[in-house]
Assembly symmetry: D2
Homo-oligomer: 447 residues x 4
């Protein structure tokens, strides 16, 4: 049985574990005693504490002399930066995601109360905030200013897409005398962060760059589940429930919901499993045909005849083969603009049933940003708080060029170059996708 | 000062009160002692109990010898129908609305426990359900089957749009031996209900027709506030909050939300007042220009320069002058299909700022059906329960050709011919619309 | 039929309407042109616009030559205070209630943007904040500081109970040069406000005192529904749902919920009607016996035998006859401390079934402050916004010694001396209480 | 550094991993081809697929020749039971927990649609339902009857506490011809289930017994996080938010919240971390003193002086040393009835400040059952669905005497005898508890 079939949760087993770099770069020797938790309690973590990349017994046996593992995250009792001289900066990049403010708040609070660091700069509107030409002022983040920001969606710093010149960013860091840069973003931000760390190294500076992975699509490699994903699924479920209600409310009615998911259908799939009232779940990873004997339209026709209603959930990146001949535009992040599969499906279904001379009603719901702009739910709040704390601990210990991640139920340090090796996808032979198929009862939809 | 300016809540003062019919038709003398509440308590209402159409002192003075008033709703101690021989039917028509199931449940429960009536037919998919050709089975509604339906959105009976032949509907009522028909719907349903009552009268039958007003747009004349409206506003607020969060999350960003409201902008206006984070509220009743010195685009440009973000809420029926030359399609209810003002605005704004060579981001949110498919909130539940109870009391007393309404904070009986005299609109010189303008700070937007 | 039976909503008809003072005191002639809404639109209200106290046709006929009415609230085109010289103060008294922050925000925003008044003092911790001995600093309220406070429960100003010396309060107002005092509170606050207005008058000062009625119990005379009540009922419903779930989850199980309601059972009654899953609703207005043939315990025993579960809702002020011999303590507001009817009932039920040798489980839920400390829901937000606006308009016009109220669906001015004439109660012969009895099916529970 | 310090999430590392049995009993050879998912896709799991007990690299090294691991859960391609002849039973025991209905629904749906098993008996009111003396009818569970039960809290089967005679239970299973018994419960249920499996074995019967771990307190050994815990924490947060609002609303005010947690303070601790507005978190695992220099009262006094308010969260099992001399009663499950630490604390705080002649207000909130009776949130729904599916797969493969668990982010089979070896507790030297201390800033509170 292939190892890739062992996946029972959202955690993917890795195909070539041996090839993944696991060493974390440090800026130098950590020889300052940590002021963190001066009380009777103390619970420091050492660099020797590591978490296995793979938790399957087979992998452990196969790789037994060279078991890949990641550094465990957490506070070190020896730190690299002198708190009294350390200034930090936080930047948020890319699209919104529930919990960004929680992460910002947690970083500021941990720096202030855990390490006594009082200067934290908030960079406005993503990497742009480093570039003088934009004229964006830096804001000071204090426990007072961030106290209640976790109750709001979005990011108090603002965000933007796209790269900015690495040299100018490092210039800005030097000018501000920043020792630690926290970047909150996805794939593109990891690449930018890695370049910044490289440039810092070239210049012989001692500035730590720590990334906190953020993507609403949950598609970052080596992260079990990205923050905000839970909340997004919850909101997606609300939209699907409405589509179901609509589908039941009129004769021959189809509730059609478009959800986020450019390359990975995790939101659509997880919402389908959680709600269990979806009949077709279409995601980018699973090709499907519209026409033909086994195509969606034919199957849908049968379902309407038998049941009188249907609920379809489609991730925005699904069915892009139908837009192959349209001109490719790109957004600032370099993402190709997708064809609007939601409206396309709506139109195709209408045409099909018109041709078949059958009455059909379609209730199309595109919750769009509603899914990502809400405040984090309790799970995500808890998670974001932990990510922020661990990012601070890593930075204070002098780690750099890495991201904080949750892996095998533990917080770990992962090199940025490993994080950008792949993009996480829904594996079609995983238990996760099987659960979707069990729930929907949909066939392959392929001729 | 014009009387029309006195409006401080959603209740409109009436312009020609004297012309509104207020007499309720009855099928005959109510001479059966009501079984309703056999206990020590009893609180019957008499037909002499009436509620003033206008509650202003000026009106009272002006019309003092002929003060128009409506019959107070509530249980009568003498009823017309013998419970042991009475069968009822319920039909739900038109679009969904939070609370329909609450109304159905309340009617069934009151008939059963209040009057001992055990046969209530649910007609499936609106007026279609009466027409044999559609082959739709009738369902029996009992306290057991409706016990928890109020926890769901939509209608358990299903709905449909458009008229059906009145004769066939009355044929069906006769065949089923139905004595009372409850219709839950809007303007079109009132007209159909009035025709049904007329046909019944022609045939000399004794079947009561009682309407319960339903419209998500809150645009029914002589109803203070339609059920489901509260819930819809609540959901609209959720969408606007997200748009606001998005607008704050990127540089020069506009959150644009399209809301329901074909001819009346009550949802958009009420959400604007409740949330107080909208900068432009565009509704069908208030004409606005896009171009020109005082137009929206110019003003928006100024706002972005000063504040860096903006939130626009537009009701679907606003700005239809921009679609005048497009062909007019109609839906089954005879409503003209509206031009998509949301997408149009998005495109126009994008073009404007592209021409002006200014960066702008637009986050477009169209919550569509999400606003109307959710379960009712507590307020609407309470309201729907009362509407259902009062509809039953009216019917049992032999009233017909009328709707149950909330007016001047009391439940009343209103003739259907009065209910369809006008459509309720947001009055631009009302305190209600003034509150919107206070909240947004928007100017007239007219050149 | 008694007039008191006409009540179909939460609005009570009044027993002796002729005795209620309706004249509003003013500080002097309003002869300054209002800066409020300088735009094309304008919608001013005149003092001649009045709203009938009673909207029933019978009352109108009976009192036709002397129809009592209240001044309509809203902006006047001539105002009394010169905005450039006017300072205001806001104080919040008594227990928390959802929406207090909405009212504060609305007052500050309307003063600032509607009238150009920039100095608004927030008095901390109720009337104490006026008394120097407590050393409580005054806070300045600006659009910036109040911008998002409506998203939180409670009051940003803090509150306290109990009276303070009127003279010292007026001293403080004079020292601060305050022209308008807004008091947010209930019965006790009205009395204090009236005394303050009297003292101001004695001293020949021109300071307006405007009250905004606040009580979670909805028991203020001449107010249709107090703000926060909707939200409280919603929260109460959540608690009752849990009790119902628990009652269904174990054999012979009783869900028992205690709710707020010292003298008036509106919350318990409204939640009972809205949810329709309560079997016994016990309120202060309706006496009941525990023991005896017709007592609660006997009836409950029957219900458990037949149905296996039950849900009881009890308002905290119900059944106080069982505590008559306990010593009477008072809180700071002078309210007698109530006997804990919830725990008492729990114990009595347990004893009864133990004696009867029948197994019974009781799940006791006392949500206590959860019901009143949450943020306001959308309905209450909208309502609070309107109350705040109208309070400002009244004050600017030089009105004093009055409260703003919603009556017959319109905002009106009501003299404080009228507001404190009675306390609103659930009338046992009203349609409102009948709805409770219809929903629960409970008998009189009196031997 | 001790291994026990490595805990970064709710998953505990195990102290004596070698002593934990990991072998799963089976009823016999699985040699029937599974009908599960007959489509193109297939994703079967083999018994050789195992998940490491410990995911730390150190453990892997130390135990390298004998790495303990659990069987991976999931569908096997060879099954033991012939679906056409298999009847199943489900029983729910102990207290309510969000998600029980989700688990029931998932089991029924997977049996029906995945394996074609159409007879599933629901046992009413826990183990009692097996005992004829109680006269409780068995209910048939079908896809229709369970379709929407996941939308409600509680258990549609009802539950009860305490053991029943094992022999009689097995008699009942035999009489009903049941091949698979699913038990949903906690520690006590595991013990009962193990005894049932033993008795079945003695009698030479082939009946699988599969447990699904349920406890609101999250205190089951070898389960990362029990279902319903997320939802409970969410509800706990709502209560704490109210306490915080109250604490801010009056001078010198303390919000005091009592939460579930008999032996383990996970709910209190997780809510504290998620919300970050708690000042003292008291749990059973962490002893504290009230009196004395370092005691809670003294520290609280200091906090009130400095900040004017405080929020205390106490788990019901905390501070039981203060009730040592009270008589020990036990409930049906054999749990000792706890002293009411919430009321005790309230009283002690009041006394302390009265003695100190300092004004203090206490707002005491005990949400009690509200926390556990609500429907599951989306996270728990997803989790419960997976637990139910995997329980069915395990049973069909002939596994018995085991529970389904989530461990190291994967679903696994764990022998019941291992599950009851210990109870999970909050470890005071874990990162989890450290996060609580970071968040509250509370000292040890021990003299």
């Amino acid at each position: 049985m292939p190892e890739t079939c062992n996946i029972v949760s959202l955690v993917d087993e890795i195909e070539n574990p041996g090839e993944i770099p696991t060493d974390i770069k440090t800026l130098g020797e950590a020889n300052i005693t940590s002021p963190f938790i001066k009380k009777d309690y103390s619970c420091f973590v050492s660099d020797d504490d590591r978490v296995l990349l793979l938790a399957s017994a087979k992998s452990a046996e196969r790789l037994r002399d060279n078991l890949p593992s990641f550094e465990l995250a957490g506070p070190r009792n020896q730190i690299y930066f002198d708190p009294s001289k350390t200034k930090c900066a936080i930047v948020t990049c890319g699209g919104l995601c529930p919990g960004i403010n929680d992460v910002i708040r947690s970083i500021v609070m941990t720096l202030f109360y855990g390490y006594g660091i009082h200067t934290v700069f908030g960079i406005r509107y993503g990497l742009r905030g480093f570039i003088a030409d934009y004229g964006l002022p830096v804001v000071e983040l204090t426990p007072q200013t961030v106290d209640r920001i976790h109750e709001y969606g979005g990011t108090v710093l603002g965000s933007s897409r796209g790269p900015q010149p690495t040299g100018k960013i490092v210039d800005a860091l030097e000018k501000m005398n920043v020792s630690i840069l926290f970047t909150i973003g996805g794939d593109g931000t990891f690449k930018a962060s890695a370049k910044i760390a490289e440039e810092i190294d070239k210049r012989g500076r001692k500035i730590a760059v720590i990334a906190i992975p953020k993507t609403i699509d949950n598609d970052i490699f080596l992260v079990s589940k990205t923050f905000g994903f839970d909340t997004a699924v919850q909101m997606a479920c609300e939209a699907i429930k409405c589509a179901h209600t609509e589908a039941l409310g009129a004769p021959n009615c189809i509730g059609l919901v478009k959800l986020m998911g450019r390359y990975a259908g995790f939101i659509a799939a997880a919402a389908t499993i959680a709600l269990r009232e979806v009949n077709y779940c279409l995601i980018p990873e699973s090709d499907f045909d519209l026409e033909g004997e086994k195509g969606l339209l034919k199957h849908l026709e049968g379902r309407l005849e038998n049941r009188g209603h249907a609920v379809i959930v489609v991730a925005e990146g699904a069915g892009q083969k139908y837009f192959e001949d349209q001109p490719k535009e790109k957004d600032l992040s370099g993402n190709v603009k997708l064809g609007d599969i939601g409206k396309f499906l709506k139109q195709k279904i209408q045409e099909h049933f018109k041709t078949a001379e059958k009455e059909v009603y379609i209730r199309y719901i595109d919750p769009s940003y509603i899914i990502r702009s809400v405040p984090s739910n309790v799970d995500d709040s808890l998670y974001c708080g932990n990510l922020g704390q661990n990012a601070v601990h890593a930075a204070m210990a002098g780690k750099t060029d890495m991201m904080v991640s949750l892996w095998n139920d533990r917080y770990v340090h992962i090199p940025l170059r490993s994080a950008i090796m792949h993009r996480k996808r829904v594996k079609l032979n995983s238990r996760f996708w099987m659960s979707v198929l069990e729930s929907t009862g949909q066939p392959s939809l392929k001729n």
